[in-house]
Subunit: 204 residues, 2 copies
DNA sequence: TCAAAAATCATGCATTTATAGGATTGATCA
DNA sequence: TGATCAATCCTATAAATGCATGATTTTTGA
């Protein structure tokens, strides 16, 4: 019996590309596609699926949260994250949320099939490019709290501590605390590095 | 007669996706694909092509340079840039290098066909997301001098003005001048915004 | 329910950036 | 050859950030 796949991605090109790449293969069958999280959940409610390919960037909710939801509601469905880049940040977070693997969209046919096989057997699969940013990237991907993420985004938008404080209804010193924690977690010493890293990881 | 298309992209998924999306349409025919610049040039030498879809990120040379080469060697071939994100920087640079348009990979079928039609008629097409970053993004992409680029890169690497000064054998005040000019050219007011923008534009 | 984690606030000081206003030297180019 | 631009340097002040240290209150999860 062939592995039943659901693809969730809002890019028609990716949807078609994956379908096409997997079309002439007997091991797998693409049983459905969805372009947002709501449709994906709806599909899973009425269909049997072995592996769900989840795009990281969806219009309604992000892939990480969707992954969590899917694993909660449909524990038997294995999930495989789809992303444009090899962002280590996401890898660990997706795994934390129950994903069985991580696939870069630039993967070739064989890599994709290998991922499916691995995951179907209950294993993990991830093809992350470790070539780039090895020097500047933190060894472990920092786990950020809700507040830290908020502050990070506002910093990236060019707001100063006083402005962020006003925006979040907290004091400037608190903002600064979060900021220091961000610097610490990313293992950098100033805003420039912080933003560059965060941008590289797709966090902002 | 249908429009003859060459797709140049190193991502199998994109290649297949585009082919699949355009397959059942009589207006266009995908006459070839290439996964790098060399193959692309070779193909153009021995085949008639109306429009070449060029990925921005290729393994050998970048899409902007490839675009230039194609327009020089094959002036009749129209080029359409393919990119993952809507980076305004690239838009203008590609146009400067003779591209007839700019297509985001997340485009739908109709957008792609519309682009092909526009370009084939000798017009321009670009579907850039103007939703995001409208406030922070500069209207025109800043032209940076050699020195400014150097300073920008070093800022992004987390170096402070004194460190940059030491590195470039110039005074701190000069570094600061370049820095101020960068802020001015990018129309931002602090380092965070600067780096975010520059990162988004692929400059660092 | 109890410990850990997150979020909040504070003070003080050193360092860095941002802003403003110039000024000089070359190089380039029409 | 004269205008323009890049690159260099300066002073001076205001604003913001980085760093250290410590503390209280919520929240959260096992």
């Amino acid at each position: 019996m062939s592995v039943r796949i659901l693809i969730v991605d809002d890019h028609p090109m990716v949807l078609e590309g994956l379908k096409s790449l997997l079309a002439d293969n007997e091991e797998v069958t693409v049983v459905g596609t969805a372009s947002n999280a709501i449709d994906a959940i709806a599909f899973l409610k009425s269909n049997e699926v072995d592996i769900a390919f989840l795009d990281i960037n969806l219009p309604d909710i992000n892939g990480i949260d969707l992954c969590k939801k899917v694993k909660e509601q449909f524990p038997t469905v294995k999930t495989l994250a789809l992303s444009t880049f090899s962002e280590r940040a996401y890898v660990s977070r997706m795994i934390q949320n129950g994903a069985s693997g991580y696939l870069i969209k630039s993967s070739g046919k064989e890599e994709i099939l290998e991922a499916i096989r691995q995951v179907q057997l209950g294993g993990y699969f991830m093809n992350v490019n470790f070539d780039q940013n090895t020097a500047t990237a933190p060894k472990t991907v920092p786990f950020l709290t809700r507040r830290e993420k908020e502050v990070l985004v506002l910093i990236a938008e060019g707001m100063t501590n006083p402005q962020i404080a006003e925006q979040l209804f907290i004091s400037v010193t608190t903002v600064n605390s979060h900021r220091q924690n961000l610097l610490m977690k990313f293992e950098v010493s100033n805003t420039a590095s912080l933003i560059k890293l965060a941008a590289g990881l797709g966090l902002i």
